[in-house]
Amino acid sequence: MIHPPNLSPGYRSTLLRAPSKPAVAFKADPDAIELTSPVFGHGEVGALDADLTRQHAGEPIGERIIVTGRILDDSGHPIRNTLVEVWQANAAGRYAHEGDRHPAPLDPNFTGAGRCLTDGEGRYRFVTIKPGAYPWRNHPNAWRPAHIHFSVFGTAFTQRLVTQMYFPGDPLFPFDPIMQSVPDPVVRERLVAAFDLDVTEPEWALGYRFDVVLGRTPMED
């Protein structure tokens, strides 16, 4: 099993929101519109959209990092020109979202949202700051490990994926019911980025590598 089960009682919000009936298997008849996907153009994504440290007048506080990787299909082929969106908390663990009540400072120089299109090799690259861990009210003394949310499209609506990228060696992993909702520990590790000295830029920023592999389109079965 790759994906988390809908009902993961350790993550309380699933209790009333997880569908209780099994999903109906999708049949890929040639007319099924889920086999196609919106195509986003370069004119829609600004050059600064992929640099989350340059979206305001000043630089955000925090540890500057580079996050890069490839969007691939399950055969290892790159998915080109596909939209990748990211969002995250700031270095103090606070989202620039009105609903976030964590008493940590907002950073006027950090919104924490970015997007880009993959290049001809399926590659994306973001410059950002490392997000902080933050508390949530799922259970007593609950803390989310630092993470960056990823939203990826692919070439078919059936491939659409939203996930989260974590940082290697975080001591909060065993206590996080969202990460632990992925039942297979080997699969779970795919959510953890790798520190990469080749991505790291001297005197500038640490580098992390994180590839995202999307499901096959049913037509290929």
Binding site: H3, Y11, R17
Partner: protein
């Protein structure tokens, strides 16, 4: 080596929605329809922090993040309001249905369904019990189609597994 899914969480509102996202066609577009409804949880309570994506199947459509002008596009995105409602304005699809994805806190994987604009012979609909079939068919009132998403429990919407 597939990457597993994780929840969209509660704090996407400053990042994913964009100007004009729910309007796939401009105001006054000939033949435009409105698709609206509520997202409800297993207790029948509205889900105020869901995000819906609508896809009409216009493959190759460009210009969907930046709206404006007279053209139509095939993709829309709408966050639910505090009362769990959503609303899209779109051109009618070429086929009988619109594809819908729902993301929310508490959904570790997005759920996928279809909004059929009318009942009729269809491979998916015909494979379902009548009570479940009805969950996929929008209720029409003029140019407005009403379609609620019930995530769990009585009247639970049929979801698709890709």
């Amino acid at each position: 080596m597939l990457t597993p899914s994780q929840t969209v969480g509660p704090f996407f509102g400053h990042a994913l929605p964009y100007e004009g996202g729910p309007d796939l066609v401009p105001d006054g577009y000939p033949g435009a329809i409105t698709v609206t409804g509520r997202v409800l949880d297993g207790a029948g309570e509205p889900v105020p922090d869901a995000m819906l994506e609508l896809w009409t199947g216009e493959a190759g459509t460009r210009g969907v993040l930046r709206r404006g002008g007279e053209g139509a596009c095939g993709f829309g995105r709408c966050a639910t309001a505090p009362d769990g409602t959503y609303r899209f304005r779109t051109a009618p699809p070429a086929g009988p249905y619109l594809a819908l994805l729902v993301f929310a806190r508490g959904l570790l994987c997005a759920v996928a369904t279809r909004i059929y604009l009318q009942d009729g012979p269809d491979p998916l609909l015909d494979s379902l019990e009548p009570e479940r079939r009805a969950t996929l068919i929008a209720q029409r009132d003029g140019g407005v189609y009403r379609f609620d998403v019930r995530l769990q429990g009585e009247g639970e919407t049929v979801f698709l597994e890709f």
